[in-house]
Symmetry: C2
Subunit: 303 residues, 2 copies
């Protein structure tokens, strides 16, 4: 299998110094850079038109830049396979989740207020150890969050779309939330956005959370109801990396109300590129050795 052609979005700097590989840059907007492309590595942001762009190039694998792939059609032309970018983004997003959670749990806002007043203010916080954290969503990012929480001596209650037991214990489902949320000192939301999770964090959800408890939304903005967030913001400690609408417009009332809003920067660290390199090199290596691609989320992989 020589003369393998890989077309890569300029969003990525991928080191593919492998004999027999032709690497071309392609922005997925101009015409394809070659008649035949074996592997196409899409831009960071996944858009519905990506499949159409590679339809006439005989592409075997469309490697997405995101974990989410909701916008990719379920029916693909020919033998095309689509892989998502699981393993690329979990590290940075889970790390950012911990930054937001610890900011709220250790009341860093209060320390910053005393610092700006240039005055000493020693105070107690609940902290994170010994507290109960309801983790809603245990996909790749949720699992990476649970791994980072493990040494912090907390009680993590895991909630997913399907009730089950796994090697770490009980997994609850969304029907259990009315019973679980009142026990929470913190709630971390990290589910994919779909019909079932649209506005999951609504007035009833937030009303079930105790006064002073922490909400961290690192899922998607539309998983929460913005009006409900504003309504409960004085009673809860709300931290958001995602908003609805997004970008949150200048001057929007949510800016004032939330304890912390970060502008969807969860995945934006230098951890991303080396992990994307590892994934693309693995896909190319698998192709060269006739092994199945990893992370395939659309299309039927034979063999």
């Amino acid at each position: 299998m020589s003369n393998v052609t890989v077309a890569i979005s300029p969003d990525w700097t991928i080191d593919l110094d492998i004999p027999g590989i032709t690497v071309l840059e392609w922005d997925f907007k101009s015409p394809p850079p070659a008649d035949h492309i074996d592997i196409a590595v899409a831009p960071h942001a996944t858009t519905p038109d990506l499949v159409e762009r590679v339809a006439d190039t005989g592409t075997k694998l469309l490697q997405l830049g995101s974990i989410g792939y909701d916008s990719i059609p379920k029916e693909l032309p020919g033998d095309l396979l689509v892989a998502n970018a699981a393993t690329v983004h979990e590290t940075a997003t889970a790390e950012h989740t911990m930054a937001m959670l610890l900011y709220a749990a250790r009341e860093v806002d209060r320390s910053l207020a005393s610092q700006s007043e240039k005055t000493w203010d020693q105070f107690d916080t609940l902290g994170l150890a010994d507290t109960t954290i309801v983790l809603v969503g245990i996909g790749g990012v949720g699992t990476a969050i649970a791994q980072r929480l493990a040494p912090f001596e907390t009680n993590v209650i895991r909630v997913a779309s399907r009730r089950r037991e796994d090697m770490y214990g009980q997994v609850y489902d969304m029907n259990d939330l009315p019973e679980l949320l009142p026990k929470a000192d913190s709630v971390i939301v990290v589910v994919p956005h779909n019909e079932q999770t649209d506005k999951l964090v609504d007035d009833a959800f937030l009303s079930a959370m105790p006064d002073g408890s922490i909400l961290v939304n690192v899922a998607r903005g539309k998983v929460a109801d913005t009006d409900a967030l504003i309504k409960h913001a004085d009673r809860l400690r709300i931290t958001l990396d995602v908003t609805d609408p997004e970008p949150l417009p200048d001057g929007h009332p949510l800016w004032d109300k939330a304890l912390l809003i970060t502008s969807h920067v969860g995945g934006n660290t230098q951890a991303m590129l080396p992990r994307m390199n590892r994934l693309v090199r693995r896909q190319v290596g698998n192709y060269l050795t006739s092994q199945p691609f990893v992370n395939v989320v659309r299309g039927n992989q034979h063999g």
Copy 2:
């Protein structure tokens, strides 16, 4: 061994519902509450007069409220033993260290600035994953920090007073710092304060750290030279839970210069009291069953 008397500072609410135990409250300022005290549980803050206070009460164990015990004299009267509060404070302080480190590594200050301007600001950070962290001090708190760092996919270089290898690999010593600090993305200082560590973080130390790298001091204020901190504050990202002097006076120039100053709140969470309860109950249980006390740092324990 019946009629065991335990005198406890009102700083602590200790549950000692054990038959044969008399529990008395004592502030260590008024005269001892009984002629004979078996175990005395000191206030949160350790002061040099504590040993003198229990000298005439036949006390077997003076249980301190702090990990540090520098102010306790090396020569003790009679059979008195002094135990420190290792296992009580590590959890909260390590957690706070992670809050400070992640605040700096994910540039939460920049997100807060855009939030206060009510405007969306998406930006990349170096993040924590794949970075190099020099951890200076691997006692109880340092080890607890290393445990919390473990899932964050970082490269932790450990430095202590004595060069050695342990089960986790190489431990460097202070003489290695000039070579190690230039490689650091973050430096966490968590050594005890003594003659060797006084002003350890001086102009030479800070000069060896790369531009934009992070300093976290959760040791003692006097481990750093305040003038040197101010000198390097624009070049580095300095976060401090301890200062010299402490409390840092209102309006002191360091307030403005450091990225983040918290008012020595590292240990101040609700994690402390349950862990102090476990330690005191363990000491009383060991006394009742003629087992050696734990955490003994001064005095000679026989048997």
